[in-house]
C-alpha cells in the first residue's frame, strides 16, 4: 500500500475562529457599572427589646413626608421639591440657633478638634401609595443637601471638595471619616404608613 504523505493542517482559518469567539464575548459581556444611591438599612430590632426607648426631642426631628399623591410635606407644610435642599441645610446647620431647629453638641473629632455637631435627625416618611420615583427624588435632595454642606466644610478646612477626596488614600480616608462625623447623614425611615393605599 502506498503511504500517503501527511499534509500540514491549514491554520489560515484559525484567526477567523478566534475572531468569532472574541466577538461573541464582546457582545455577551456587560461593561456598564451599576450606579445609584447606596444606603444602609437599620437592623431588625431584637425580639425581647421593644421599641427604641431613647426619645428624641421634637425640635431635633426634621419630618419629611410624601403622601400617596406624591405631595411633599416638611414639618406639616406643603413645600416644593426645589425648596427641600435649602430647608434641610438650614435645619442641620441652624446658623441663628433658632429654637425650632436642631440642637448641637460639642464633640471632639480628629482633624477638626472640638466642633459643634448637630443632633438633628431627618425622618423620611412615605405612604404605600407614594411612587418610587418621587421617593428617590426626595432621597436625592436630602443627600445633595448633606453633600453640599460637606463640600463647603472641606473647602473651608482643607481647600478641597469632599467629593474629590480619595477613599483609598489613608490620610484622605481619615478626613472623610472625620467629615462624616461632623456632618452625619442621619436619615431615619419610619415603618411605612399603611393607610391611604394606592
Amino acid at each position: 500500500m502506498a503511504r500517503r504523505e501527511l499534509q500540514p493542517i491549514n491554520a489560515g482559518s484559525m484567526a477567523d475562529i478566534a475572531f468569532l469567539l472574541l466577538i461573541f464575548f464582546l457582545v455577551s459581556t456587560t461593561m456598564d457599572v451599576d450606579t445609584g444611591l447606596p444606603r444602609l438599612l437599620p437592623p431588625m430590632p431584637e425580639e425581647d427589646q421593644s421599641e427604641d426607648k431613647s426619645e428624641i426631642k421634637k425640635r431635633n426631628v426634621f419630618v419629611v413626608l410624601i403622601n400617596k399623591d406624591d405631595q411633599l410635606f416638611v414639618e406639616t407644610e406643603i413645600v416644593d421639591i426645589g425648596a427641600l435642599k435649602k430647608l434641610t441645610k438650614e435645619f442641620i446647620m441652624n446658623p441663628d440657633d433658632n429654637p425650632n431647629l436642631s440642637e448641637k453638641r460639642l464633640e471632639y473629632v480628629d482633624y477638626f478638634g472640638n466642633v459643634m455637631v448637630t443632633k438633628g435627625v431627618i425622618s423620611l416618611q412615605n405612604d404605600i401609595g407614594t411612587s418610587y420615583g418621587k421617593y428617590i427624588e426626595v432621597q436625592n435632595e436630602l443627600a445633595a443637601a448633606i453633600n453640599e454642606l460637606r463640600n463647603d466644610l472641606c473647602l473651608q478646612k482643607f481647600g478641597r471638595r469632599y467629593n474629590d477626596l480619595d477613599p483609598l488614600n489613608e490620610t484622605e480616608k481619615g478626613i472623610i471619616e472625620a467629615v462624616k462625623k461632623v456632618l452625619p447623614m442621619a436619615i431615619s425611615e419610619a415603618e411605612p404608613n399603611k393607610t391611604g393605599g394606592s
Partner: protein, 158 residues
Amino acid sequence: MSRFRPGKKKVLPPINTASLPDCIFLLLFFFMVTSDLRQTNIKLSVQTPQVTEIKKLEKKSLVSYIYVGRPMPQLQAVYGTEPRIQLNDVFATTDDIRDFISSEREQMDEVEQKQMTVSLKIDKDTKMGVVSDIKQELRKASALKINYSARRKSPGMR
C-alpha cells in the same frame, strides 16, 4: 552607494500571518478574564430614576440584583401589567427574597459576605408599598447594604 544599486530588485516577502491567531486569542482571553457574563435576562421593563448624587458600586461580584417593574409588553398577556419582582431569571414574591439572599450569600467567600450589597433596580412608577415590603424582607434577612439603582442626571436640570 549601495542603497541605489541598479539592476537588483528585491521582492517584498509576504507577511507571515501564522501568529495572527495567537494575537486574537490573547485579546479573547483578556476579555474573558476582565468581564463577566450577562447572567440574567430581564423580563421586566425597568426605568430607574435619575439622580444627581450618584455613586458607583465597587465590586460587581458582591452585588445581587432585585428587579421590580411591569412585565415587558410581550409578556403582559401572561403575567399581567401589575409590577412584579424578579430574582435571577424568575418572577418571585416578597417571601422568596430571604431564600434568594441566603443562596446568594452561600456563593460568596465568608470574608466577603459582610460586604454583600443588594442593588434594587426598581421602576420609577412603582408604588412604595412593594418597595417597603422588599426592604422589610431584606432587613429580616440582614442584608442591610442596599443600593437604589439610578442613572445620572446632570445637576441643574429639573
